[in-house]
Every structure is written in structure tokens, then in C-alpha cells.
Amino acid sequence: MERILRVNMTSRTATFEPMPEAYRNRAGRWLTSSVVHDEVPATCHPLGPSNKVVFSPGIVTGTASPTSSRISVGGKSPLTGGIKESNAGTGWGRRLARLGIRAIVVEGQPKEKGFWLLKVDVKGATLEPADAWAGKRLSEVYPALFARFGGKAKVDICAIGAAGEFRMAAAGVCFNDQEGRPSRYAGRGGLGAVLGSKGLKAIVVDDTGAKEIPLADKAAFDQGRRKLGAALGEHAITKPKGALNSYGTAVLVNILNEAGGLPTRNFREGRFEGAAKIAGEAIFAGNKERTGAELYNHACSPGCVICCSNTWHRPDGNEHTSCIEYESDWAFGADCGIDNLDHIAELNLLCNDYGLDTIETGGTLAVAADGGLWRFGDGKRAIELLHEIGKGTPLGRILGNGAVVTGRAFGVARVPHVKGQNMPAYEPRAIKGIGMTYAVSTMGADHTSGYTIAPEILGVSGKLDPLNPDKAELARNFQYATGFLDTTGHCLFIAFAILDIASGFEGTVEECNGVLGTTWTMNDVARIGKEVLNLERDFNRRAGFTALDDRLPEFMRVESLPPHNTVWDIADDELDRVFAP
């Protein structure tokens, strides 16, 4: 029996409700965005009592389907003021799914100060005081909580760090990886601050005694997961010792640098002279030198066959941090002008410890450097500034609230954001397709909201030319397909394989049918994705967003970006055509 767990932080009660009929077949992003759309007043203050935080594992999360352990987290974003869905790979959502819990809805707000911990298991859900864990670094909190609740084989943990307790708009929601590290984040959009505003420090999920997830059509499920597994195992990007497994996502540093699209020193240039020193190859070689072994990457969550998560090791061979993703590597590296992997690793570790989104935090430091607070490239100073955030000093409070707030505080006009969210690691003046995605995304500047989808599969005909502004349809279909994948519980990286291998995409749909008993076809992918986007766009409309918010910042139209020396030149009405053809 599938249920929703509703946690009221005003009364500090946790109650189970049956899954509403209207939400049948919804999970992951489809469900979190539905609940936020239906229950959260769009004009509410994100840190007030009317906002909610919704967690939902995807449709196939918790089953034997490969690379499907994503947990979707939704709410109204304190960073953008619009709807937010951010997802992470972790065993936490699998345990929730196995307990038959399709969503946790956290609502209300305590009148008294303090923090609480929610424990969920087969017996139910209980809240207990958690003030003892407040103010501590997450690398202290997680081991202590694992020890208290029976170890990482038994439980997984969701928590906020100091940034969330301080209700900073750059605060993410942390989950542990398979080794128990506090390192997997639903990072973007400040949902950690919303949990902080509700006094919810941590959610510990124990699925001991839970039953296997029931399958409505086991044959369809098995056929689907085999087709998907074959595609992932065969494709050059996703196969064992393929690009992601060997070099991690940070392989993109050198590739974007060659393309002239690696945003450097707060989006002043498209190439970074230190790129080779911080790229995936340098991480692989540095680890080999320091540990004496060739370290291939590991799975961030149970059941992942892609295994793209890396570690970085100190000169003495001991682990420094996990994981230096491309976006984090870029944010503290090229965007801050830092070419030292040990400094980047420390900044990454501090974000994991203080509960911060690495993209927003690195982007904020870059804006602050542009404003004269520190010098680009001075990694030691950047580390000191990150501690300011963790300590909650007045300067830290500014930086912890993201790039837009920091740009205002330091009088910087060059703030690369959309809807208040700092841009990730792809320069829109060099890669115009991603610029369209940044502009119209419901999430603010977000590379994952339309990162990949096979135009062929979605029926876009003709030669693909995303630099051509007439391809608004392409940008739209990208986002619809991503809305579907974020609903399944699969990692977006399966897209690399299933776009090239059609049977893999069919398998993804068949698996969902196997779990739900539906008869979806490829046509339902766009239908469901469209429904997700429509819910999110309607929420944003009611929150006060208009077409004028679907724009890139002015400086990108007037400052040309080396080495291509191009500006952002996509007409506004072309952007508007993405969702209003």
C-alpha cells in the first residue's frame, strides 16, 4: 500500500495518508512538483510556514532497475522565488520506496527555536530533538548518526548543514553515498534553507523488515531493465571504463575548454589557461601518483552501473573529498581562476560539510572576486571565505545567499544568473542551445533541466541545429523528456546511452509499465514531461514570473566572450516561442 508521510513541524506530528487517486502513477519530480503546485501558495515566503518540502523517490527507485536511485526534492525556492526540483543519487530514496512511502511532505513551522530529527522505519515515523547535532560539520554529524541508528548497511541519512540552519539561499539538502559520506546533494535552489526554516535537521530512513517493491507486470519490468542495462553497458560514455567511469564528469573541463565554452573568472572568458591542471585526467593521474593505484570511479548509489563518482586524495594518499564533479570542479576552478586541485578539493569538502550547493557557492565567490573582495586564483583566500559562510559571520551571510545577493552587496553588474540562480558550467554565448535552456527553465539557470534528449526519439525532424533560434521546439522537447526521466528515478546520465540506443529508451518506458501496470509508449514520454513542466510553469506564473524572467543577464548581450568573441544574440521572442509556439 503506497502512502504519503505528512510531517507537520508546527505540531511536530507525523501521519500517514493513503496515496491520493489524483496522484496515481506519479513519483519523483512529477509528484514533488504536483504537491508543491497543489499545496503551496505560490506567493508565500519561501522561509515562512506556508512553504513545504516534498521528497519523492522515482517510479522504479528501489527496484532492480539499473542507475535508478534518484530522490527528488521539491519546494518553493528561496533562491529563485519560483518552484524548485532538485534531485540526488543516494540509497535514501530506495529505502523510502521499499517502505511503500511515495512521498514525504514537510510542512508548518515550529514556534519555538530548535532542530528536530525524523526517524522513519517499518513501525512508522517519529520526531525527536536534534539540537545536539546543530552547528556541527556534516562529516561529524553523519558518522555519529550512523553509529546511533545502526550503521550504513541499515539506514541512509538526509540532513542539512550549518548553511541550512542559517537559512541561506545557497543551502542544499545532503544525502549520504554508499560509503556513508555526506556528499550527495539535491543542491540547487536553497531547499536546505527551507528545511532549516522548519527546524528539520535530519531524516533517517531504516527499511529493515520492508518488503520488495511489488511489480504489476514482472515480465515487462524485466524486459525493460534488461534493455536499459544492455544500452548502458554498451555505450562508450556509460560502459565500464568508459568516459564517465574513468574520468568522471570532470572530463568535461578539457572538452569545454577546447570548445571555448568553459566559463572562466566569472564568465569573462571561455577558456581557462589552467584547465588541464584541474580536469578529469589530472584527477586520475594525481590519484595514481598519490595512492599508487589506478582509481576507477565508484557508484554514488546502490544499483548504478555507470559509476561516475570520484575521490581526490591528499599527498599522503589519504582521501580528501568525494566527489569532484565537473560542475564543482569548474565552479571553484575555472570560474574562480583556481588551478590547484587540492584547493578545489578543500572547497568542495567544505561545501559538503557546511551544506552548500557547490555551483552557487563557486559562482558566488567568482562574483565576489569580480567585486574586489578577493583575487581570482587565490585558493587559500577562497577557503577562508568559505569558512565565513560556515561560521555565519555577516560576510558569510552575504556569500551564503548566493551570487545575486553578493553581486548587489559588492556592486557587481556581471552576475551570470537566470531567475536568481547562478549559471552552471556551460557558457551560453558559446553554446547557445544550453543558453535557451537556462533562459526558459522553470528552475532558473539549470543545465540539468534540458541537458540531453534524443531529438530523433521525440520526432524532431531534419538536421539538428540548436544554434539556429528556430529550434525552439528542440529546447522544449529537451525539457519535456527531462521531466519524464526525473520522474522515473533514473539518473539523467542514462540519457547518453538511451539517446543513441533506442531500445534502451524503450526499456526505460517498459520498466515503468512493469512497476505501475500502465501501458505507456514512447508517446507518453513527452505527454508526462509536458504535464510536469506545465505544473511548474503555472506555479511560477502565479508566483509572479513573466516572460521577462526568461532572459539571460544583460552583460551577455553586450560583452563578447573570447575566444569566439560572440555575444548572446538569441532574440527574446524566440525564447518566448519555446513554451508558447
Binding site: A236, I237, K241, G242, A243, L244, S246, Y247, T249, V251, L252, N254, I255, L256, E258, A259, G260, G261, G270, R271, A276, K277, A279, E281, A282, F284, A285, G286, A430, I431, K432, G433, I434, Y451, T452, A454, P455, K463, L464, D465, P466, L467, L474, F496, P563, H564
Partner: protein, 94 residues
Amino acid sequence: MIDVHLYGKLRRFASNGSPDSDSVVSMPHREGDTVGSVVARLGIPEADLGANLFVDGHYADRRTPVADGARLGLFPDDMQLLYKWYFRPKEEGS
């Protein structure tokens, strides 16, 4: 002259094959050069080459013309992670 920036296992074709610095081969330009002809002169096996190929920062393929003074960026078959649909080969026009 042409500067060819090599990555991953292709770095072995440069005198500096270090994975954490730039591995660049400078070679004379020849009339009619394409990515394919440059790759052949370097002795890079076809099978080692991936789809992430760049000429002066533009996504390219083996038939893309290479002008004197160009910068090539070549990534091997096991190191292609760029979302290819965001780009189009340069030879298909502006």
C-alpha cells in the same frame, strides 16, 4: 603552422604527454588540410578517435577544413562527453 591539442590516450602522439598539462603538437600546414589529413599525418589510428573534435573551438568532423594557424582539439573515443546535439559540424555552414 597548426597547433594540435591532444587529450587522453592521444597524448602519446605529443612530446609532452603529461595528463595534467597541455599536450600540443605544432606542425606545418599543408594546402587542403582537413581534420582527417592532420590526424593521418600524426599517425593517429582511426579507431582511437572520438566524435569530440574541435577546430578553433568549433565542433568539427574529419572532413572539416583546417586553415593555417588553426588550433585543433582532439579527444579519443573513450573521452567524449559533450552533448553533441548542442553543436553542429563546422562544414555544414555558418
